[in-house]
Symmetry: C2
Subunit: 195 residues, 2 copies
DNA sequence: GTCTATATGCTGATAGAC
DNA sequence: GTCTATCAGCATATAGAC
């Protein structure tokens, strides 16, 4: 359908966010200029300000959308009965979700210090909510007597670091499939919590 | 005290590196200007170029010095006999060494993409050398039959991510001493490798 | 909705005085 | 060894034409 004086806001908006996501992940927020993003989208720099208030909002919106996705996806995940089944569900979910969107994950971890103070606080709260999900599972597992980890909080942080670390080395088409990786990591998680 | 033609190269050089380390860790390499570093040191921006070829070299020198320190410190670490003792030594060493220099660790992980191609390759080689140390221990443990982890390479990456993760949450003067943290993490490491 | 043009300011790096 | 002054360029963001 022919269109005369381009009215692409429904297409250009997402394109801006996709371009920013890829460029921020590759070069870092501070190293990417609005001109670079505009060039990737195929518009002039000034036009970006129709879709974002400023560069800071662009970063914040990307990170917030990522964390919202994460929390919603975990909420929708089938979890099974018992703390051990839920721990397995969490480990497999975390690896799968994070491997599916490496750019967003990278930004969420690396660009926290480039957020304004209030934006940082908002993202930090979402991150703690997610950590709380795992912490609750471990707490339940302790109550059920199926895990013996001595410190729930440390175990939470250790497991999340271990699982997220997959993103730093996993390459599509490598030696192992995502499922094989998840199997091995689940073994290590189980061992680490003393299950 | 009046000073005529100050000759402070032995003092100013290290000051430049210390200031750059702190500022890069706090704000990120790309977000820090040479003028900011100079202000922190107490000289004018132009004077920095007496101590570094350019901004890129400043970053590279910091990262290389950190990796050299790491490898030298591990080499000098008492390790005990047997793979399990060496694994414990590695875990405790890694946590201790990394907690002692959070800024350098942060930069070494976050600023890799701001290195030039050849500088990146050099740092990457040092990082792989360090990973190889842990991998060799796990390999030996497999041979001795004291660990049952099914995939040495994945276990290496998982353990390093888990141990390095301590830096993201540990705060001096918090609930647990470094030794207590190391005790708990060593338990988790042992469990994760099936020892 | 996108463009061009522009404001205002900071960037890395160098030259030359002292 | 450090300074001031400066270059050439790029930054974010906005104004106004179309």
């Amino acid at each position: 359908m022919a269109r005369k004086t381009g009215s692409h806001s429904e297409i250009t908006g997402p394109k801006v966010r996709r371009a920013a996501l890829a460029l921020f992940a590759q070069h870092g927020f501070a190293a990417v200029s609005m001109r670079q993003i505009a060039a990737e989208v195929g518009v002039q720099a000034g036009a970006l300000y129709l879709y974002t208030k400023d560069k800071q909002s662009l970063l914040y919106d990307l990170m917030q959308a990522h964390m919202d996705d994460l929390l919603a996806a975990w909420k929708a995940e089938p979890k099974g009965d018992g703390a051990l089944a839920q721990l397995e569900a969490f480990a497999r979910f975390h690896i799968r979700f994070h491997l599916e969107r490496p750019d967003a994950v990278f930004i969420a971890y690396m660009e926290l210090r480039n957020l304004s103070d209030e934006n940082f606080a908002a993202i930090e709260a979402l991150r703690r909510t997610y950590e709380g999900e795992l912490e609750a599972i471990l707490h339940a597992g302790h109550g059920e007597g199926v895990i013996t980890a001595p410190d729930i909080r440390l175990t939470t942080m250790a497991l999340i670091a271990m699982l997220t670390g997959v993103n730093t080395w996993y390459r599509e088409g490598g030696r192992l499939s995502r499922e094989a990786v998840a199997d091995i990591y689940w073994d290590m998680v189980r061992g680490a919590v003393g299950a």
